[in-house]
Symmetry: D2
Subunit: 328 residues, 4 copies
């Protein structure tokens, strides 16, 4: 008989928490017994997510009270930046945590959950800092090239584009309203985006030396999806085939990373935990272009979080994540 | 030499006010000398609308203070529901007003500004209540049929669909956010939408008898555009050709109403003041379907407002409105 | 140990066939052993659907040759209108067929697969004509009201709106291109849409008398989703609660039909086989408005097809269909 | 009295030709007397563009026969690649030509129509090769930096993103269909896009030395708009302010180029001929990021074409182009 783990989700009102709920609700080894959310507290889950049924639909959303948590095997936390540190510190040690929010990335005692790069570290962890959506897309593409020393860590330009759900739900700013986002495209956070240190730190961890990173995020007129277009300098004229081969070797046996010779589309990943990678090199110019397409709520947030939980709990890493992307 | 009128716009931060500004800025007879807005007060107009230049870009947005208005020939007001009555009552009589908001529709002393139906009434008015966006689409299509007594006023179903800009800008509710509106469609306000009395009252005015109206609005995943699909019962087996002929006769010489035998697309009207109408009848069933496509910010708000101002000021009614729709 | 059935899919290049593949690929009791498609013949499935892996990715798409079919338990056919009758007639009797296309609806020897209305008929069938997408949305909402004789069959207006994937993939007409569909909305097929006879025939089957149907389809600027807004005349002043109660009773125990008091959103159903229904009545006017939201490729095509196959094969009807909708 | 020029448009069925028609139809000095198009020949213009009226609506679209042209002052040509050279060679010398298509860029006897960079060259020309949409966006941003020698021509990465209308209308490939483009984003033409030589050649013209260019185009899920995000190496630690100042000086007095310190949005330019530029520099890394937002059918095609025609004809360069962008 299959194992069953008791799961809690904090931040259920947001898009990341909602996606965690969607995945956990049909996970063969998970039973969601606790859901907390600020703006939706007091509602039944079924009132917020009308496709739910049975006990799960009747579960009432709580205000998050860390001292009144039920007995949980795993807690998924998707809290606003700055709020989770003091709260999650008081969660009992036996409850594994995946923090989908950004507060515990590169914090002592927390393992950085880049699940396809460091699955073994995650298997033995109990506190996971889930990567940010942009870092997940970027680092999944860069890791094989850095590990194989095919590119210089000191010279990387990441031109990244994200769907609007990456900005979170709470906002309510008209700049994320349909009327203004539709038929619009722009860069933002030039030279100062919050995800840059996380990417830089991970590049340094993989490559062993400091990175020189330029990171420019853009807002796409779409709901889900990130494409990172990455320009790097190859160390010694790497070819397209060498880059693809390095990625295939690096991710051999990994379920959720797909490497191909065609430029990936974000829609290939929609609703799933997949990352699609491709590489294009011009060895005469020492140029490598790496492309990475993910669903920002999947591999970029809740999908990766469930994969991390699976690894921590000794489950098959694809448990509850086997659905194929929705296309078109 | 062409006449020049001094124009003020109140509610410049919203989509309706912004569209009024866009149209007035290039109107050959208008000079915008005053702009007021709640959330944008203190900004230069050029900071909010980066395509503006010259004096207009440097005009500083004010908090609306009705007692400190400059000398104006026309004031366009686009204020939140419920706020405009006491304020606009204090605007000097010599300043013509077009209230784009809903507070003065069917109020004594204010002329209902259905410009293509009652241009002569508007020419002699000084206070115009601009029709709501749904009523503008609906009534423009119904008026010829009602006037010609081709349909029964007592049996009209209006299934109307609007782009998101019709919900206004302030909102900031995630339900109008791109992530939730994109790839979604739903009805709202079933059996109780706020525009129903305005439509009913106008039908009664035209037809002379009470209307029996069902009005169902829907939210479209697009920024601009309204399509009204209207089901009516014909009085005596009207044909498609009779309906089209009635509309062509009713709107003869009117610049902004176009009647054709093809089902109209909202995109035909995008960015313009046009209304596109068509009619399909099944005389064997006494059925008439009327279709009306407009830009909710054009004929449904600011376009109609400028047309009304032109009529009041004795200008050609298409002054400042001659731009063609943007397609695709 | 779970049963395994050998599955074939014809029309894999189109959206309906592709969605059938997506669902069958992760169905716990299905093994896809045959895929045929006109425009994609010769490709590996994995080249067309990059998230596939293993044997399924390596399956080569065939030109459909009905005389060279492998041994199959079920065949899903999604062929262009007019092509399937002679071909499917030669499929061996032991191979169950679900025809997602329109050629066998109301044809002798074929069972109309409105799975939530007539599950028992389908359990004993071997040839299923899957409902069209508009009929699926419309009839699922109307059936309870007609069965309970709450509304008059003779007086029904269906104002239906569909995402673009409902128009199929082959087209390639610029009128379905992104540039022209985005920011556009229009009705089409006024008074003559191809789905009308199918809806009328089914209403007659349920109600026992002829229907008087007006059906107006519209094209939405979105990929997936249908909303049907249905106006009917109640026989004796039905209330909202009576309509909701009738629907709840009619669909008791049915997994995929959800009835609620809020107007349903198409996005609630996206990527799933659910139908969301609601009803709003004004008994003083004998008016009932029924609303139905589905994914046109789910309950409107491949989802319903898999549900029908499950019923024919004696499987739980939700096998392979338990994924929750993707939101937002 | 204002001058009036006789205008012809070839390629009226496409998006570029249609936009030229839209602009010419309300141009105060233009009278469109000839329209030709392959797929729409035989139709009235008013049947294709339902907002047109009067004589222009009644003009019948011709098959393009260069030997049967009426007397024209200007011809706008928007023909498929490869078709225009032999045909346009036979247009009478007195008829000025703006070739919106790509065949005459960097061809002897044709002036490259980068109107805001080289207006004086264009004033004396009679044959203009209008820039491609990506080059227009890219070069307008780069020209001031190259002219002021603030950046190295040898080290430029252009990450460009375009709306779908840039792919033209004829296509009909489902990859440009709404169902596949919506909620999708991808790069294409990696390391080999057709616009690269045009950009390289122009950089060389301005800078005097060979360029080292990486150009990656992407397809945006929107109809109109291009954003180019350009990464360059500064020669000696240029600051943001130095870049902005160089651009302001370079474009002083130019109507259609707007320089600001905020990252520009494509929607700022929608439906207009404006280009919005901004610059962000990190002098400690010799990094300059240039951003350019245009409407690909405006400054990227027909808007620039009309501006070029105005310059050739001695008209004010903004004649017929004074409409403000449509927002939101």
């Amino acid at each position: 008989m299959s194992q069953s783990f008791r799961v809690g989700i904090v931040g259920i009102s947001g898009y990341g928490g909602g996606e965690a709920l969607r995945l956990c609700a049909t996970h063969p080894n998970f039973k969601v017994v606790y859901a907390a959310g600020e703006s939706s507290a007091g509602s039944r889950l079924g009132d917020r997510y009308p496709a739910l049924s049975g006990d799960l639909a009747d579960l009432v959303i709580q205000k998050f009270d860390v001292d009144a948590l039920p007995d949980l095997d795993v807690l998924f936390a998707s809290l606003p930046t700055g709020e989770s540190k003091p709260l999650l510190a008081r969660v009992p040690a036996k409850t594994r945590i995946v923090d989908i929010g950004g507060d515990h990335r590169y914090v002592d005692g927390w393992t950085y959950g880049l699940s396809d790069v460091w699955p073994d570290r995650i298997r033995t962890a109990t506190r996971i800092a889930n990567p940010g959506c942009y870092p997940a897309a970027t680092l999944t593409a860069l890791a094989p090239l850095l590990a194989a020393k095919l590119i210089e860590p000191a010279n990387i330009v990441v031109d990244a584009k994200s769907g609007v759900s990456g900005a979170g739900r709470g906002g309510g700013d008209s700049k994320f309203g349909f009327a203004e986002v539709n038929e619009d495209f722009a860069a933002y956070g030039l030279l100062k985006h919050t995800h840059m240190p996380e990417i830089s730190a991970t590049i340094k961890t993989i490559a062993g030396t400091e990175s020189g990173l330029v990171f420019t995020p853009h807002l796409l007129p779409m709901t889900r999806g990130i494409l990172a277009t990455i320009y790097a300098r190859s160390t010694s004229g790497a070819t397209t085939e060498q880059c693809l081969a390095a990625a295939r070797a690096f991710y051999e046996g990994r379920t959720f990373v797909r490497i191909g010779s065609a430029a990936p589309h974000t829609k290939w990943a929609s609703g799933s935990n997949f990352a699609f990678l491709s590489y294009f090199a011009d060895p005469t110019r020492n140029l490598v272009i790496a492309l990475s397409a993910i669903d920002n709520l999947g591999k970029g947030a809740a999908g990766q979080a469930v994969q991390n939980a699976n690894l921590m709990l000794g489950l098959p890493e694809s448990a509850g994540l086997s659905n194929l992307p929705v296309w078109p």
